[in-house]
């Protein structure tokens, strides 16, 4: 078996299989991917046997590094086992202590292979909630117009953006993305993302990313200083109004319930809303030091 690393320059070859959104992710700082072929001279999409994409978690924090497998592809029996072996080698090189995943689009064959590779599998409710943009527009709390100190992301310059990010960075739980502080301002949807300005400085962000498929995902929702709770609500109002003006009502919005406070908020805004059924799994890669 021959393995090729997936990256920005070759991902276009497998876009059909990988999907537009995952293909975009591969260019990001902590995303890794491998593709598996029989013939080293033929790395076309048709000859792809297996592939995996994963993201390193807590790689730059003081916690142990983990890896989240975000996608697996198995075209031929036996190939995914080989890809998983290669994955294990690569993550150990990056000092990953444990691996985990939450996948929706896997078949029985992939499940068996993952289970045999040492992953403890279980069925669970996804931490991701998919909500239609229209449903946000129907929320009573968000109907009011946002005040004039909430600014569109496009209206601030990159210096102000960086200054705001620095302030927020000190709270490590603020960002939903591992590479949040490496992403340029342009990566975020500048029409829908917004910030709050206090005394000429950025004090909070609601940053939204729009994937190539049209999916919208809020990735940073945080405000510092006094009145931060009011600012959060105002930023939400701003972004919902901007998104409704910009995109169709049926645009899906993905909210990852990664902390208790996010779950509490989604429960309050959308009571009874459940995430999709997923297969989750975890495995220890290396024992703790």
């Amino acid at each position: 078996m021959f393995f090729q690393e997936l990256h920005e320059s070759n991902i276009h070859k497998y876009k059909e299989i990988v999907g537009k959104d995952r293909a975009e992710d591969i260019s990001r700082y902590f995303f890794r991917g491998i593709a598996c072929f029989d013939d080293p001279d033929d790395d076309s999409e048709e000859s792809l046997k297996a592939a995996m994409i994963w993201e390193l978690k807590s790689a730059e924090s003081d916690e142990d590094t983990a890896s989240e497998i975000t996608w697996v592809y198995d075209a031929e029996p036996g190939s995914l086992e080989a890809a998983l072996d290669e994955y294990s080698k690569r993550v150990r090189d990056e000092d990953v202590r444990r691996s985990f995943f939450e996948l929706t689009d896997i078949g029985n064959n992939e499940k068996d292979v993952l289970s045999l590779s040492g992953f403890n599998l279980s069925s669970a409710e996804s931490r991701d909630l998919r909500i239609c943009l229209k449903e946000f527009g129907e929320l009573r709390a968000l109907r009011r117009k946002a005040p004039n100190y909430i600014y569109n992301l496009g209206s601030i310059d990159s210096d102000q953006f960086e200054q705001g990010m620095i302030k927020i960075m000190f709270n490590q739980n603020a960002a939903a993305l591992e590479d949040m502080y490496y992403l340029p301002k342009e990566w975020f949807d500048e029409k829908v993302s917004c910030c709050v300005m206090t005394d000429g400085c950025v004090n909070g962000f609601l940053l939204v990313h729009r994937y190539p498929s049209g999916l919208i995902r809020p990735v940073l929702f945080y405000s510092v200083g006094a009145d931060s709770n009011y600012n959060l609500l105002d930023m939400m109002r701003y972004s919902v109004h901007a998104a409704l003006a910009e995109y169709p009502d049926d645009t899906p919005v993905l909210i990852r319930r990664r902390t208790k406070s996010v779950s509490k908020l989604t429960d309050k805004l959308f009571p009874g809303k459940k995430g999709e059924a997923v297969i989750s799994g975890k495995r220890i890669e290396q024992e703790d030091r």
């Binding site: 003081d62 300005m197 005394d199």
Partner: protein, 363 residues
């Protein structure tokens, strides 16, 4: 005989107002030379001027009682106008004090602009009612129908309620901020709150007009807060001065705070230009101290090396872009005593792992 007793009472009230004026004069003389906290000082001037007006109006009221024995309609009308004006002034002092508390805590003009349109609604409503009562007095004076003049009690209680509301708001603001930020602070709200409450109660239940005097006493605590805060500040950089290190050490020790990081920035360039860069990127819970001679200490609660590295690299890059030469080192506190930890950083004999150079040499 009874008239003589009343005259003595009026005279005592004039003297009390005089004492209030003297106290305010002394406070103003003490605070005028100060260079720091100018916004807070302006707010303090506002409170003083309003209290002077309150004391003067009150004193004139009692003086004309002594001189004219309240036996003509002009003096009666003056008294009836004095009451709502006094109420408005005392409410204005408390509102100004609330603004002062807010600004001292957050140092943000925008925050005040955003919060106060809502918070001030009861105040403006009460002012309109008080002005209405003045119009009634004037109307009564012109039409010579004095029965319209005596409707002041309800307004008095209304003012008292509004004052209580603003005192409660101040307490809530300070309490919330205390929960949000684990840092030493200088705003003392209890003395002023007690003075306002007692001044009002004694005004209501005794024959002595004590509100101007009690407000002046409350202003002593406000001035003390400003003075205390200023003594810990460097007015050129707008940051705390080296005296604050002791305050932080005591605070860490008293609250048994563990961990944290101190970043040491030193510059031979212009310290105030570097301070501007730091100000723009100051995270919520960091505190910066200017030690003099171009040395800044940034005290942070975080221990994350990644966060600190990113923060310092942006600060250094920004400084270089502006032609400033900056040196940086940071130190993470483990289980050492705060005094030992800070002493090593300030004197530059501590390495980045937390042990002092001398200690390492011994090892």
């Amino acid at each position: 005989m009874q008239e003589l007793q009343w005259s003595s009472l009026f005279a005592i009230n004039v003297v009390l107002d005089g004492i209030a004026l003297v106290i305010i004069a002394v406070l103003l003389v003490r605070i005028i030379p100060m260079k720091q906290n100018l916004t807070e000082i302006r707010m303090f001037y506002g409170m003083c001027v309003m209290n002077i007006l309150l004391a003067v109006i009150d004193a004139v009221k009692f003086l004309q009682f002594i001189l004219f024995a309240n036996n003509n309609t002009v003096s009666e009308a003056y008294v009836m106008i004095c009451i709502p004006v006094g109420e408005i002034l005392s409410m204005m002092i408390v509102v100004q004090w609330l603004l002062f508390v807010n600004f001292s805590l957050h140092q943000s003009r925008d925050l005040i602009r955003r919060r106060y349109p809502v918070i001030l609604i009861p105040f403006f409503a009460a002012v309109i009612l008080q002005l209405g009562s003045i119009v009634l007095v004037i109307a009564g004076f012109i039409s010579k129908r004095s029965e319209t003049l005596f409707e002041g009690d309800i307004l008095y209680f209304l003012s008292a309620l509004i004052l209580l509301f603003y005192i409660a708001v101040a307490i809530v603001i300070v309490h919330r901020e205390k929960k949000r930020k684990r840092l030493p602070r200088f705003v003392a709200i209890v003395p002023m709150a007690i003075c306002v409450l007692f001044g009002y109660l004694l005004d209501l239940f005794t024959n002595f007009s004590l509100l101007p005097l009690f407000l002046a006493a409350g202003l002593i605590s406000v001035e003390y807060s400003i003075m205390k805060q200023s003594s810990y500040e460097d007015y050129k950089t707008g940051y705390f001065n080296r005296k604050y290190v002791r305050k932080i050490m005591d605070y860490i020790e008293h609250n048994e705070i563990k961990g944290g990081t101190v970043i040491r920035f030193s510059t031979e360039s212009d310290a105030s230009s570097f301070a501007k860069i730091l100000h723009r990127m100051e995270p919520d819970n960091n505190k910066t101290i200017f030690m003099g001679d171009g040395l800044f200490l940034v005290v942070s609660e975080t221990q994350s090396e990644a966060v600190i590295n990113r923060y310092t690299s942006v600060i250094i890059r920004e400084s270089e872009r502006r032609g400033l030469n900056i040196k940086e080192e940071h130190f993470t506190r483990t289980d050492e005593e705060p005094e030992e930890f800070f002493a090593g950083i300030i004197h530059g004999n501590r390495d980045r792992n937390g042990a002092s150079a001398e200690e390492r040499e011994k090892v």
